[in-house]
């Protein structure tokens, strides 16, 4: 089989405007790929092809009339199955919600439809966007996990079955699968995209985007936010109507995190070559070994994963207790264990945990004095063999706890498998992160047709 690659939508816009391509034809190419690949990849829990074709025809007509609703008018998009859709069930990866249909779209899905995007399918999630995997396989090697929890979204986009997808992340659920499946993954600043109608209630959970290119990624997020805003009380993703131009950063902070010690040699070597290439392009790289502010951040990163897990457990007490009330036999042991852990916690302990999280966020914010962003791997290795587990989130969790924007850029390979480079920005400065990430892509993979 040919190596799968993600599918850029922005590059088709000129052809739509010229009439040499149409959103309906774009969709049919996606459907061809779905029919060819999805029987093996299993990225979807539901597909609504009839509605998708109708929507693509309407979009084609708008482009024909020179009146598209937005730069994503006609884009085929998948929706992680914890996010509600009016026309397809929202199963949350749980037998407890098999066939559950709320009868309405989430805030983000409603906004995407307003922008003319085509909601093609619901994508497989792990159980309640947590640990127990679904049936999805990695499109680059069916013997491997796609990562999780946004498993189907990453597999669908990384394989070119769809141009874009919505995901959610509270630990590493966007960056990790994006890294494993070879697409861009974007976790915005805290509250950057309105979570209304998404079953991810936790305080560091974010809705985010997976797509072929940085440009498509930005556009999807932007079109949602101008129509639906961010989470209530939050400013929402801030930035221009189209992605800002690439801008080479003067200084980046390379973060080892606790992942560096467990990263495979090929991944470490690839990352070190990225740093060399950036230095050769004039970017100064600071590290824990030569900068006190970076060292201070690295020193607290070992706390991040256990702190995240405690915070998530407490914040999952509800609704997990109601799920147990309904039918505990339909929950994984992992979910029941999380509830038992939560029930042993106290609100006072939780308060101490969120106060510590604020301290760690402040330690990270100080790094802005010496570096325009942080850079590291997205994962310690390519996707592991087997689909019984979704891989190690060690590199992806710091940006979740910090509440800051992060991108996984599909720039590296370990053997034949993709691996992401991660960039981590500062709170509500998502646009700056896209600009410098675009420059990094230009430096590391100038000929890469799929990431620009």
């Amino acid at each position: 089989m040919s190596r799968p690659h993600p599918r850029s939508f922005a590059r088709a816009l000129g052809d739509f405007a010229a009439g040499t391509d149409t959103p309906r034809d774009f969709l049919e190419r996606c459907i061809d790929e779905i029919e060819a690949r999805d029987p093996e990849v299993k990225a979807f829990t539901a597909i609504n092809l009839e509605a998708a074709r109708d929507a693509a025809d309407a979009s084609t007509q708008r482009w024909h009339e020179g009146a598209p609703l937005s730069p994503i008018d006609g884009m085929p998009i998948g929706v992680k199955d914890v996010i509600e859709t009016a026309d397809m069930p929202t199963g949350m990866g749980s037998g407890l919600f098999d066939g559950y249909s709320p009868g309405h779209d989430s805030a983000s899905v409603h906004a995407l439809r307003e922008a003319g995007a085509i909601i093609v399918a619901k994508t497989v999630t792990t159980e309640f966007a947590a640990t127990r995997p679904g049936p999805t396989r990695n499109p680059h090697d069916l013997a491997r996990t796609p990562g999780g929890s946004s498993s189907g979204s990453a597999a669908a986009v990384g394989s070119g079955m769809l141009a874009g997808a919505l995901g959610t992340q509270v630990v590493g659920s966007i960056l990790r699968p994006a890294s494993y499946c070879g697409c861009v993954g974007f976790k915005p600043s805290l509250g950057g995209i309105n979570r209304g109608g998404s079953h991810d209630y936790m305080s560091q959970s974010c809705q985010g985007v997976l797509a072929a290119t940085l440009e498509d990624t930005w556009q999807i997020a932007r079109e949602i936010v101008v129509r639906a805003g961010g989470d209530p009380g939050m400013p929402g993703l801030i930035g221009p109507a189209i992605m800002p131009d690439a801008r080479t950063p003067a200084t980046l902070a390379f973060l080892e995190t606790t992942g560096w010690d467990v990263a495979v040699p090929e991944a470490r070597d690839a990352m070190l070559r990225v740093l060399d290439d950036l230095r050769a392009a004039g970017v100064k790289i600071v590290t824990r070994h030569d900068d006190a502010l970076v060292a201070a951040l690295e020193d607290v990163i070992p706390e991040v994963l256990p702190l995240t897990r405690r915070i998530n457990a407490w914040e999952s007490r509800w609704p997990l207790n109601t799920y147990v009330d309904r039918d505990a036999s339909k929950l994984s042991q992992g979910m029941i264990d999380r509830l038992r852990e939560a029930e042993a916690m106290t609100v006072e302990g939780y308060r101490a945990d969120i106060a510590r999280r604020e301290e760690i966020r402040a330690i990270h914010a100080k790094v802005s004095a010496v570096a325009e962003a942080c850079i590291t791997l997205s994962a310690p290795d390519a996707a592991p063999l087997g689909i019984e587990a979704t891989g190690n989130p060690v590199f992806a969790v710091p940006c979740s706890l910090l509440g800051v924007p992060a991108l996984s850029l599909p720039l590296l390979r370990v053997g034949q498998m993709p691996l992401g480079v991660q960039t981590i920005g500062y709170r509500d400065e998502d646009a700056a992160l896209f600009a410098l990430s675009a420059a990094i892509v230009d430096i590391i993979a100038p000929a890469n047709q799929n990431v620009a």
Copy 2:
């Protein structure tokens, strides 16, 4: 008919412990009152007496064994019908959700059941906790509104049909009906009580409590929060296991707000007598006329209601747009108008509004340098005649926008109708507000058997 009065639960605990009263008997007294009054008052959308009696019997058994689950074990409670319950529908005051049943309890209701409280009924709300009233009438005068949007909760508690109730407030939806119906109303600090499973998504919306006494009010909130926490990412209601002792404040700031000019003379006179009584008890009262920090706050209060309405409109865009998709004919014109207003807004305008809200919050926070709390009326008059509107929220909205705790204390009367005195505290200092409010009750109504 005899004048209705709210029903204290805490005062029954000694009798439960002594075996001279039981939670089942307490419940039966509530049911007697429901049967006598509710055919006229119409406080409820659903009542589950069978489950309530079973729960009361179980509670009676626990008290008999000397092992109550909490100080609210056995308390009959009503739940505003925007808050989900496993055993009763959640209709949200809208034909669109007639009979809707999510199949699970909200975080707060689940916590109440864990604490042994008895969930007796769902209480009438205005449409989506906004403007269009339900059928409820004021138990003190059936020709008058109970206020809204927590209409049924206030009517049920103010009449003694239930000992406590949950409400929600984003403008004036707890304090106003508590004032009109003659019970205590508590709007906590922002995020003080977990809103999981409640259909109030707005950034200044809070879940709160209505009860007969400050002691009961505190206990209900406290028992929820130790089991369910506050909103994710928030510390939740902070304070001791039982309500702190009364503590007379050294200084209070009297706020006129924009309500003073429209308050009826009887209400103004009653409020001025309260201030005189407080001064006589040694409390210093500062006002806009003699303190620059209070004056600075008063100067921005005229912005509060329009700013709140704009913020709420933007934040209601979703889910209102999905309701219109489903069946616009089932929405009030007011709801459709709110959506149209929201659709004319931009995310940039919203950002400016929430930034201004932060500035106003900072102006209020500075008042803490001169006063331990603010005090004012809860409403400009007793409940108005008619049930087609829920009254003027002018006095209640500042605490909503400020995100700070506030109480309505049932201390005044206009003619035969109750009117509340409002105390307003500082963010996450809810316990201090209860302590000084208890002192105010002792000063103003030392013989009041229902508020202590």
